[in-house]
Amino acid sequence: MKKSNKKNSSYFHDAVERFMHHKLAVVGLAVVTVEILLLVILPVIMNLEPNAVTPAVNMAPDKTHLLGTDTYGRDTFARLIYGGRTSLKIGFFSVLVQAAIGIPLGIIAGYYRKAAEVIIMRLADMFQSIPSMCLNIVLVSVLSPSAETLILVIGVMGWPSFVRLLYAKVLSVREKEYVEAARTTGTGNLGIMLKYILPNSISPALVAFTFGIPSAILTESALSFLGLGIQIPEASWGNMLNAAQSVAIISTKPWLWIPAGMCIFITLISVNLFGDGLRDALDPKTKIG
């Protein structure tokens, strides 16, 4: 039973404020933002040719090739930038697919209960019990590997976590008096779900969204390891890191894997930190003051 005396502050403003107090999360956000900016801007301002094969193969970093070249003489730095675009694209869109399937289903299951609940939740059970890596492999080989396939496959395999989150949250939100109030004021089911249930149960999904991105990037790199990830000549951090398949390369050609490894690592940590902060920010339990 607290009230805020601040003028014009809104829920989101408060959330932003709580988030800003989470220093590591701010750092995470900053890193991700800078990274995305670099990935967007660098190809425009620099002349990067990620797929250009040159005779200068397996070169250690020098002035012309900031991060050296790979076995085809392609510039590692250029590939790193383009690979980042691919990896982040896969990370983001595959979670988007998960959310796009999971959120509506979760809301329907939690709101209508009964048959919808049974069917959707059993389906989610089913998807979560299948060894997802096996199915990923099968699906990727059915659909032939490409960025779009990976997005689809990771998306289709990952929706149950969103359903569960949303479902649990909707169960409590639908009992809230404002939902009842909406009904007494004549709002239809669709309206209730969109205007009342969705905005009030979306916050765990937002958090799950950020945590989903790193895990999607990791899945892509794991599939790359099995040769089912992003295919040549396109670069992704996952398939670049795969250059480090053997100890020989790890110890003799660090420029081939350290950049991609560091990028994955930094991105994943930043996104995770950001997600952590977001969770605290969106969770009303962590009130400031």
């Binding site: 099968v138 976590s161 790199s221 100890v247």
Partner: protein, 319 residues
């Protein structure tokens, strides 16, 4: 409780049937056929012979008939014979299930054994040294790709320190003692544990942190209990509950996710068998492995649910 187990089992069976249908359809959608194995430069097989074999194997039937046939046999305990390895699927899996369970369960246990004390310490003293240390470990764990961790471990322990073997489960030519298996287990287990360790530690830390501010903890303190009792008797058990749920969710990832680890360490488990089966389009084997892994996961989840119920008396009266 009995009724609950029954109910869970029945829903698990429904989920199980769903899984088999889905896997069967997907597996047969995969381009290529098991017969491709026979088509090789050395074979000189003819189209007619191939057709005859296809008919003999029943691969020319419509997919749903093949599926029902498979399902019928499965319920009779007959999982068929591997197309490429020519042994009953059950026998092939039986040979591999031990190593897989050994690997995934040991890494689950290891993850829990490290994550619980660490997460507890971190959640109990939040925003202190131990919390930051555990956070770093957790984030690193969550952010490092599995195969990469495996390589680093190999590099450090097998190459630099020459302490541990890198491949297989036994020494060459030896039939294997427990100690030997253990030695071979360490690296794959560590590699597999790393990621889950991160997730578990975070989970434990957060739930501990939340439980510490619960009202009953205040009550316990108000009774004059010392901190140790408050922590171990009152808080820990409640804080473990979300971790148990998390462990249930991770079970599938752990059993199925062992594929890469098994591959790198040539661990003779079901993961490598599965990869091979997929490569060879060995449908009975693909199905058999999927069935077994899903059954393990489903049973594991039931067991975890039961543990959860034993720890949390509230649930029993709710459902």
């Amino acid at each position: 409780m009995g009724r609950y187990i029954l109910k869970r089992t029945l829903t698990a069976i429904v989920a199980f049937i769903g899984i088999t249908i889905m896997t069967y359809c997907l597996a047969s959608l995969m381009p290529g056929s098991p017969l491709d194995q026979l088509v090789q430069p050395e074979s000189g097989i003819s189209n007619a012979e191939l057709a005859a074999i296809e008919h003999k194997m029943g691969l020319d039937q419509p997919i749903y008939i093949q599926y029902f046939f498979w399902l019928k046999n499965m319920f009779q305990g007959n999982f068929g014979v591997s197309y490429t390895q020519h042994r009953p699927v059950v026998e092939l899996i039986a040979g591999r299930i031990g190593p897989t369970l050994l690997l995934s369960l040991s890494s689950m246990l290891l993850a829990l054994f490290v994550a619980v004390p660490l997460g507890t310490a971190a959640g109990y003293r939040p925003y202190k040294g131990i919390d930051y240390a555990s956070s770093v470990l957790a984030f690193v764990g969550q952010a490092a790709p599995n195969f990469f961790v495996a390589l680093l471990l190999i590099y450090i322990f097998a190459v630099k320190l020459r302490l541990l073997p890198i491949s297989g489960m036994y020494n060459s030519g030896s039939s294997g003692t427990a100690g030997e298996v253990l030695k071979h287990l360490i690296l794959p287990c560590l590699a597999l544990t790393f990621q889950h360790l991160g997730i578990f530690t975070r989970q434990m830390r957060n739930s501990m942190y939340e439980c510490m501010s619960d009202d009953y903890v205040r009550t316990a303190r108000a009774k004059g209990l010392n901190e140790r009792t408050v922590l171990f008797k009152h808080t820990l058990r409640n804080a473990l509950l979300p971790l148990i749920t998390q462990a249930g969710l991770s079970l599938g990832a752990l059993v199925g996710g062992a594929i890469i680890t098994e591959q790198i360490f040539s661990w003779p488990g079901m993961g490598t068998l599965m990869l091979k089966a997929i490569k060879d389009r060995d449908y009975p084997l693909i199905m058999g492995i999927t069935v077994i892994i899903s059954v393990i996961v489903l049973i594991g989840n039931i067991v975890i649910d039961i543990i959860y119920r034993m720890l949390d008396p509230r649930i029993d009266d709710k459902v």
